[in-house]
Symmetry: C2
Subunit: 421 residues, 2 copies
């Protein structure tokens, strides 16, 4: 036994298996070093990590003890695991472990810590300069969105970015969303006293998700994109293009962005990383128009940066080294494969139902006869997005992203139970 | 040479010193393993970190090269260092390296990554449950603020938390701030259509910083706290207590919080960690009243969590293990010592000026005769908060927090130049 990580695992297992119980004392650092023939530093490091993870606590001068928190933690982990097993979540959003190389990401976080000088200050309100440079290059290559780093604003999610936007476009009065699914966006505009409409092309601000137009994952065709741009230019309205899910178009080349098609005059381009990376990383960005970025910069003292500085620095390196492109390919392959497994399972288990893969390639559209109550799903721990349910027919949009590949069969069985009951 | 970190440092130095120039090829992994008598994995790890830090790039199939970015980076680091050296920043906010054990914090971030399952989901909108539990205990012990985890809301800074608050207290119309220094707060309330007043005790919402009442760092005396509570109860107004800087009261015990004094009925308690830890860590929290937390929870789908999940998990362990208390003692000792050094330097170099330490113990109040223009400071790269400048007298509030101990003398010389010119 040489490394501290082995020592860590050794004691962790003793504790988890109950061989060391809460309140029991661990060997002193000196004694453990003797027992395991390692240095005291190695023991100290292992004990420290056990403490950081809540398995043991240190009592000044008297040594290390198995914590009580450990039992709670273990209980918590167990209950959340069993909860997770019981719920079949067909709503998109969460990620599965296979889709992301967390270790690679961790290396970039570690690298961020090596730039410790930078972590001592609040950093730029607009977002770290080097990340904005990396983003500028990334969106140019990927989506033909040509914008200098000066026009990019970073934030911890789309909502904080929309809040900044709302505060600098006060002269506009109405906003239109494609449907009611983006509650956080509509609520925010409502708070800022905008009149919120749905599918109103004459609104002052038009929020669109061209790669995820509906909950079914329909993609906005290029003809409609051009019409929208023309109409908005005529009316001098502002388009907010949330490029969510554009990475997942597996059956065709991604359609050009509205920003690229319009020349960026009246389009605000927004992007996120929670779906390509993991939801735990909360960095989003927007590209403002020349006019709006001026308004933002002239009032910069009104704003504070919300995204974690460590994550900004890490993401910068991750993008700069090309990992984001590789990760996009990986996740696209992974999720589209899972979507096909889901489609096949549905065809096998629910042969009567109509099922097809959505345009964006990561959801299955399902239409089945259904006379029950829509409560059935939640009662049977099946979490699902119901598009409509009328005249004995139910339409569902099913995403397999948070279900592990090997559990898809089981999840479809649970879904079947709801549909036939 | 055994460890990959030594290998990393070895090549880093070669690159930084120009012995390996941009575009030059590094030895192959196999060859480097031979040269340094280490395993190929060790070389791979070292190369990987060099890549993550921007020193080298990998070219598929052909190997590793010293990056061009490296030169830019080095240039950037140099220019930001020289910039930093040229500016004497007497405005509080940033931290200095000596005040925070970044390595300890890193261990908790590492521990968060070991809970990788948790990073795959968006997490709780209100903030991670275990962090709220740790915070609940922490504020009870530290400030006698008794509130269950259910009443705590977490966010990436005070501004996103105020945005949530604004959206759930729409029936109120006026807000009062102690002075004009908190631009971000006033701007936000203004965006939400509140009428912003200053020092108006009859406003519907009263925002106070009892431990940092003025830019001079005056502390609100207990008598005034009780009066404010009584008055606000009579008028049914809401107090927002931002407990910023309460950790730094060195010459007395901290005054009880308004929340504790009032019983928490009409007080919202807010706290941050950017000053006790480092500004790079962006986690704040607020304790809502029973009524407001209900309103928040009933509309939870309107909100998104802004704080980094990794940082939330890390902070939870850090608090649970008692490090936050130790860090508070450490930073208090450190900053109060620096403040005394600053005072002594001022007395030595500017014997004519009136100078004393502020009530909260981490600033120096300076009053000097001054007939010049206030542009002088920025022209001489001295960043300073000017309280007032009239009738030949200038009043300054000086914080040494971002100036290194050994540079305080130099900084005061620069300040003297401005005052006598």
């Amino acid at each position: 036994m040489k490394k501290y990580s082995e020592l860590y695992s050794y004691y962790k297992e003793l504790i988890k298996s109950g061989q060391l119980r809460s309140g029991e004392k661990l060997p002193s650092v000196r004694k453990a070093a003797d027992i395991h023939s390692v240095s005291k530093t190695t023991v100290q490091n292992a004990y420290f990590d056990l403490q950081a993870d809540g398995y043991i606590i240190s009592s000044p001068k008297s040594g290390y003890y198995v914590s009580e928190i450990n039992i709670n933690n273990a209980a918590q982990i167990k209950s959340s695991e069993s909860k997770r097993a019981a719920v079949y979540n067909f709503k998109s959003g969460e990620a599965d472990e296979e889709a992301f190389d967390l270790q690679l990401w961790q290396r970039y976080v570690k690298s961020a810590f090596r730039q410790h000088e930078r972590l001592l200050s609040y950093g730029e309100v607009q977002g770290e300069r080097d990340l904005r440079e990396a983003l500028s290059e990334y969106i140019r290559e990927k989506r033909n969105v040509i914008a200098s780093p000066e026009r990019i604003v970073i934030g911890a999610g789309v909502q904080p970015l929309l809040a900044i936007l709302c505060s600098i476009i006060k002269e506009r009065n109405t906003v239109s969303f494609p449907d009611k699914s983006f509650v956080q966006g509509a609520a925010l505009f409502n708070d800022y006293n905008y009149k919120v409409n749905y599918r109103n092309k004459d609104a002052d601000i038009i929020y669109v998700c061209p790669s995820h137009m509906t909950s079914y994952g329909d993609v906005m065709p290029i003809k409609r994109r051009l019409e929208l741009i023309k109409h908005s230019k005529k009316r001098d309205s502002l388009i907010i293009e949330d490029d969510f899910d554009s990475d997942f178009l597996y059956n065709k080349k991604p359609t050009p962005s509205l920003f690229a098609l319009s020349g960026g005059d009246n389009v605000i381009y927004m992007g996120s990383f929670s779906n390509v990376l993991i939801p735990g990383i909360r960095v989003s960005f927007m590209v403002l128009t020349e006019k709006l970025i001026k308004a933002f910069r002239n009032n910069i003292e009104k704003y504070a940066q919300t995204a974690s500085k460590t994550e900004q620095i890490a993401l910068c390196g991750y993008i700069r080294d090309g990992h984001i492109m590789a990760q996009t390919r990986r996740i696209r392959r992974h999720y589209t494969a899972k979507t096909r497994i889901l489609l096949n399972e549905i065809k096998k288990q629910l042969p009567e139902a109509k099922a097809e893969i959505s345009e964006n390639g990561i959801q299955v559209k399902l239409e089945a006869s259904f006379t029950g109550s829509t409560d059935t799903f939640s009662k049977n721990s099946v979490d699902v997005y119901i598009e409509s349910c009328e005249n004995g027919t139910i339409k569902l949009a099913l995403s397999p992203s948070s279900i592990k590949s090997e559990s898809i069969g089981e999840a479809v069985s649970a879904l079947k139970m709801c549909l036939v009951s």
